[in-house]
């Protein structure tokens, strides 16, 4: 998407000093306004009625204001030089101003909504809005300069590792804090703040620097990330409420990562992916010790996992073999049809319309908790004085699974197979002419994705306690696909972000429950229109989706050159 330039670069060159003054003044006004009361009553959001010191939510606004002012001040000389810069101060100032304005609109809007009308916004709020708008206008007049070169600075190893640790600590705290927000307004404001802060860091060049540092200390990064994820249950102090959301997010993310192999890497649109998850879940439930199980054989879970994966993988082969030979569009429809066949089949295998296997639409309830290596998953354990309940047990298991899936994903992507997938995705005929085994690679992607879904399903069956056909409907497939698309096809980080957003938002935003699907449908359309490569874009994907955009191609080429010059390996295995 091209945002129209309101002020041309030449004008910015001339207006830069005025822009600096306006941005600094606006930012400082916003900062000062947070010491004033914003709301008429303390009932909205947190208490914003106090004159003298800011509340937590006001503090965020103060942060953006201060950021805009300081960054604009630090970038004041940019228009005089040739635009070279180490840190993108003015870029950061611009983004901070936008974030401040958006944040204020959200906050004042929430006050208006929760107290019934914008009359409940007191003078401090309007001062803040004016400050933010002045900063916004001023920041548009600033020159952007050339891309920041911070990422080329190589810090000493201890500083790099420390930065990674600090970043992970921030992530952990943000996860804890965000999930702790009970009130929808508070949660939305937190999300806006988090997105704004990340965007500012990106524009400053700090994120690139961090990603370059992480590339140098890959093992540290991976270790730190998993340590962070591992530490999360310890922040919850035995409370099951957030842990149950967290396990749902993980199940969703594992499945979405499996789908990402199929859609993101091999470029095959699978619209019945949930059926593979369902096949795994039903297999595991039928083979479990549930009293409603219809089969007399109950092997240990390790065996069940493999059987579930194998059942799903076989189904994948059965569906894939005929359809992968014809065009990609057919695959989408056939997988969709397969998803429906699966659901009808599970409903009909109830003893009256077919052999009794699944108890029909009642499904198989009472699937017992897992018991692995003597660890009973239904028990609460106390570690370091902190209670870890049932969901925490599943959380750790799923964490292991997600690690395995990410490992498979990255290894496949960087292998000969992954190169073959890229070739097929970009031009199937050319790939075939070059000797790529198109059909075999497609089938492999399809079946391995199905296998992973089956494995995830076997854990889901035990986690959910009961398995019914109506958990595995087309809409769930669409949600999984949306997680992949929204986050960024073919990236690990993107899909994790997408899955988290899509599962977390409905849990926290109960007031939009009714409009959840409407917004979801609209989101898919808008994403495809304006940012088809997703929030976290893989560079190659970005080019595939914008293949007539020469400017972007040049930008990516210069990024690659820069990276080669500094010898940095990209994070997350993105090409």
């Amino acid at each position: 998407m091209r945002i129209p330039q309101l002020v041309s670069p030449e004008q910015q060159q001339r207006l830069h000093p005025i822009g600096t003054v306006l941005t600094v003044v606006g930012g400082l006004v916003l900062l000062a306004s947070t010491f004033l009361p914003w709301a008429y009553s303390s009932a909205a959001l947190d208490d914003m009625t106090i004159l003298g010191y800011p509340s937590t939510l006001q503090l965020y606004a103060a942060g953006f204001g201060l950021g805009a002012a300081v960054f604009a001040f630090l970038g004041r000389r940019l228009a005089r030089g040739d635009g070279r810069q180490v840190v993108g101060w003015t870029r950061g100032a611009k983004t901070a101003s936008v974030a401040a304005a958006v944040y204020l609109v959200v906050i004042l809007g929430s006050i208006g909504l929760e107290l019934g009308g914008l009359v409940n916004v007191v003078y401090g709020g309007w001062v803040a809005l004016v400050g933010a708008l002045v900063a916004l206008v001023g920041s548009r007049l600033l020159v952007s300069g050339r891309p920041p070169r911070l990422a080329r600075r190589v810090p000493p190893a201890w500083l790099g590792i420390l930065s990674i640790a600090a970043a992970m600590a921030v992530v952990l705290y943000a996860a804890y804090y965000g999930l702790d927000q009970e009130d929808a307004g508070g949660f939305v404001s937190f999300v806006v703040v988090a997105i704004g802060a990340v965007a500012v860091l990106f524009r400053l060049g700090v994120m690139r620097w961090l990603s370059a540092v992480s590339g140098r200390h890959r093992k540290v990064l991976i270790f730190a990330a998993f340590l962070t994820a591992f530490a999360f249950p310890f922040t919850q102090n035995g409370s099951d409420e957030n842990m149950s959301i967290a396990t749902q997010v993980l199940i969703f993310a594992v499945t979405a990562l499996g789908l990402n192999i199929v859609v993101g890497l091999a470029g095959l649109l699978d619209l019945g992916y949930i059926a593979f998850l369902g096949a795994g879940a039903f297999t595991a439930a039928i083979l479990s010790n549930s009293v409603f199980s219809t089969v007399d054989w109950h092997p240990p879970f390790i065996v069940v996992v493999l059987i579930s994966g194998a059942v799903s993988g076989t189904l994948g082969l059965i569906i894939g073999t005929p359809t992968l030979r014809v065009s990609g569009d057919y695959l989408a429809i056939v997988t969709l049809a397969f998803g429906e066949i699966f659901r009808f089949g599970m409903i009909n295998l109830d003893g009256t319309d077919g052999p009794d296997l699944t108890n029909g639409s009642n499904g198989i309830p009472g699937v017992p908790d897992l018991n692995l290596f003597g660890l009973d998953f239904k028990d609460t354990h106390t570690v370091l004085g902190i209670q870890l309940g049932r969901f925490a047990n599943y959380y750790f298991l799923l964490l292991v699974l997600i690690a395995v899936v990410i490992l498979i994903f990255v290894r496949l992507n960087n292998s000969r197979i992954g190169r073959g997938w890229v070739a097929i995705r970009e031009d199937e005929k050319a790939a075939e002419a070059m000797g790529v085994n198109v059909f075999g690679l497609k089938l492999f992607a399809f079946a391995s994705g199905a296998f992973l879904a089956g494995v995830a399903g076997s854990i889901k069956a035990h986690h959910d306690v009961s398995v019914t056909p109506d958990q595995y409907i087309f809409l769930e497939s669409a949600f999984l696909l949306a997680a992949v698309v929204l986050g960024g096809m073919g990236t690990v980080l993107g899909v994790l972000v997408g899955a988290t957003l899509l599962k977390l938002m409905p849990e926290k935003l109960r007031f939009v429950e009714e409009y959840r699907l409407l917004i979801f449908g609209l989101l898919l359309v808008v994403m495809m229109r304006f940012r088809p490569e997703g929030l976290v874009a893989s560079k190659r994907r970005q080019l595939e989706f914008h293949d007539d955009d020469d400017e972007l191609a040049e930008k990516i080429q210069s990024d690659i050159d820069e990276r080669e010059a500094t010898g940095v390996v990209p994070v997350g295995g993105q090409a």
Binding site: G267, L336, F338, G354, L517, L518, G521, M528
Partner: protein, 314 residues
């Protein structure tokens, strides 16, 4: 024995006519822009709801036969407008995007349209609540006591459906072969670039393709309402899938193929319910049979019964 055969045939032809009417929409659009308009099932649903809306607003409570064409016109207008809006706002900007993009957009539109009808239809004063089944008016003449011919029961609405298909097919044949626009459509379908050089406005042709499909889908929506006596916001999903199967069966991109494919699929589905022995022959499995036919066609004859223009375009 023969009676149950003819009963199954009659039921199958009715169902098949319904599929055929929807399938034409998939095939016309695919033939011109190589896009599977996933949201077409929802256009069918919008057509049915548009017909009910017209009945509420203009019908004045009467169930006389002359309300039928008015409802039909209202349904067609609603479906065509929605189809054109989706084409203009969602598909057109993606015309040169990778093929994954419009497919995902189509899923988004599909979910969006279902939810929009579910949430907002009933909020319009006087309109029935669309969150559960909506009663479809029992128009005189096309509903009521069925015809019984030699022991075979034929609903009046079934006759309406089959007749509608016949009329629509004749109209389509005339339009595609005898009018300038129809020939322009054929030209575009054969070679869009050359067609453009010949002075054909491709955008206009694509819009006409969408409108044509939507109009036929609205007729099908009307027929579905009369056959089932009620409609709901989910009705487009399965019907759309089946109709797509019919389009593939007939050879996607081929208009007459879609009609033939619809009829064959309907009859096959109905026959499967009657003649497949044992528990798998029950009506609970009929949708499964339809999809298995789709998969079998893709294995053994991916170009469809009448042969598609393009099959292997990736």
């Amino acid at each position: 024995m023969t009676q149950s055969f003819f009963q199954a045939l009659a039921d199958g032809l009715t169902l098949g006519s319904l599929y055929a009417l929807i399938a034409v929409g998939y095939t016309v659009v695919y033939g011109i822009v190589q896009l599977i308009n996933f949201a077409h099932g929802e256009i069918f649903m919008v057509g049915a709801f548009g017909a009910v809306a017209t009945f509420v607003v203009l019908g004045g409570g009467t169930l006389a036969w002359w309300v039928l064409p008015i409802m039909l016109a209202g349904g067609i207008v609603a479906a065509v407008l929605v189809a054109l809006a989706t084409e203009r706002l969602a598909y057109r900007p993606l015309r040169n995007a990778p093929r994954l993009a419009p497919l995902i957009t189509a899923i988004g539109i599909s979910v969006f349209l279902q939810e929009a009808v579910r949430l907002f239809y009933g909020r319009i004063p006087g309109f029935p609540d669309a969150k559960s089944n909506v009663q479809f008016p029992n128009i005189q003449g096309v509903t009521g006591s069925p015809f019984v011919i030699g022991g075979v029961t034929i609903q009046r609405a079934a006759v309406f459906t089959v007749v509608a298909l016949v009329i629509c097919t004749i109209f389509l044949y005339g339009f595609v072969n005898r009018t300038r626009l129809g020939r322009a459509m054929q030209a575009t379908s054969q070679d869009p670039d050359t067609a453009r050089l010949m002075g054909i406005d491709i955008d206009k042709i694509i819009m006409i393709a969408f409108a044509l499909g939507a109009a036929l889908a609205a007729v099908a929506g009307m027929a579905q309402g009369l056959l089932n006596h009620n409609i709901n916001f989910r009705m487009g999903f399965i019907a759309g899938l089946k109709a797509f199967s019919a389009a593939v069966l007939g050879g996607i991109g081929n208009i007459y193929g879609a009609v033939l494919g619809g009829l064959v699929l309907g009859v096959a589905e109905s026959m499967a319910v009657t003649y497949v022995p044992g528990v798998f022959g029950g009506s609970a499995w009929k949708d499964v049979w339809a999809f298995i036919i789709l998969i079998l066609v893709l294995v053994f004859r991916p170009q469809g019964l009448l042969g598609a223009r393009v099959v292997d375009r990736a």
